[in-house]
Amino acid sequence: MFVPDPFGLKTQFVGLGNFEYLLGDPYYRASFVTTAIFSSLVTVVSMGVALYLAILADRLIKGSGTYRTLLIWPYAVAPAVAGVLWMFMFNTRVGVVAWYLGLLGYDWNHVLDEAEAMGLVVVASSWGRISYNFLFFLAGLQAIPRSVIEAAAIDGAKFWTRFRTIVWPLLSPTTFFLLVVNVVYAFFETFGVIHTITAGGPQQATTILVYKVYSDGFVGQDLGSSAAQSVILLVLVGILTVIQFKFIERRVHY
């Protein structure tokens, strides 16, 4: 509701001017799209991979302890550290993965290529998240009585049919919970990863809403706009959660 002068010496009351300016700002609107793409990709990738690994772990009899420990490890890595880790692997000049891609004839450069940048932050953000999702999915799978699965097998359902008609519906409370938690995570807690890998670039291709709050407020020193963005973000996540509860919960079997 205030706009400071360029030297931060005094502020001027502008009412809802900050909001008005934001909504007319093409960069801000682009950031919405970026956030939508980024958070859906992170949610889908981290939950998909976690579910797949959990199904494998659920069927595992020998060595399941080691397997689980290894899978849970990434969760202990701080987001910023994870970001740096991935950044080094894919670094255009010294990165191992980028070097091998180069050998294969692919010129990796996430500093310039927007899609590559987005891909990298999605992978890096999802990576730490997989552990968390894996734990919940595994617990969910193990809560399904063995005899129900056996009954389905006797009824003639093959693995995929069993999964589709029995396991997936019974897992839906877990899936729903993870969906809410992961979307919120992608919105807010991926700041560290983005900051270390791309710093929102190239060309704002990875500037999600929460990153824009930071860059406008603390880099651009436009605290008024930054504060307005925070409010919008808060309302947005609130609405999103309500929508998820209203519409998806109806299809969840408890």
């Binding site: 009585p145 005899s147 056996e150 009954a151 097998a153 006797i154 003639g156 093959k158």
Partner: protein, 333 residues
Amino acid sequence: MATLTLDNVRKSFGATDVIHGVNIEVTDGEFIVIVGPSGCGKSTLLRMVAGLEGITSGEIRIDGHRVNEAEPMERNIAMVFQNYALYPHMSVFDNMAYGLKIAKTPKDEIAARVASAAKLLQLEPYLQRKPRELSGGQRQRVAMGRAIVRKPAVFLFDEPLSNLDAKLRVQMRLEIKQLQRELGVTSLYVTHDQVEAMTLADRMIVMNAGVADQIGKPLEVYENPQTEFVAGFIGSPATNFMPAGSVGVSVGKTVGIRPEHIQLTDTPTRLKARVAYCEALGAETLVHLRLPHGQLITVRQGGHLPLPSEGTDLWLGWHDAAMMVFGADGRRI
């Protein structure tokens, strides 16, 4: 309708043998009950027939065809689980129709088969309900309905009544028996409850530590147990066992006498014992007596006989024919 053959079937988990070679030939439409204490391998045996456990050696044949390697769905069997194993997110109708839908049965035939099973099991008013909205007995019926609609060759029951209360158990026991008679489907039924075994079975298999101790008609097994274990396990209250020497038998190691075969008298007969306590059950009375060296003996007598007072000395008498003599290996002599 089918026959079921177990031919020297064995199972081991690693180095531990749990089933030590079971042989049985089940004829078409027969109701076989496998009975034994927990951990004797009876459920494992059933699961092997179902295809849920591998077979270490031996052969299982349904209708003469070897099914060792067949998936559960290829064996044409249906199983009723102890915890019912209903699909919690499906209505009663969908629970029963699940197998048929997977087999791509035409819709109207599914509806017809489920309707007739529901009628048979008195489930018609509940078809649209979810399992959690049903009572234990109704869930049990749904589990049976799910088995019936598929018209399997063999029914497998894994302790289906043990989650029900005592009264319902007696009622469902009768229903299962009637249903099986009506449908004439070959059935294998696992239980630890000897009363269920006695009442349901055409023939029963008494299992003890992975071995089928005795296979036979319930009354045959009761009257003529082949091992000490069977004599002790079948019948309630349990058979009294005494060292052979103490009752004047020169062969064998142990002598078993059923509680109802002992008469109590005031006049000297075979053994003297002191009444420890009595349980008057109405129609019958269980008298527990202590022999001079401390062993307890149970006697069952008619409820019309006068209740002996505790602490009095009485004589135990029995006919020679009532004595079941067992050797050191536990086998009947």
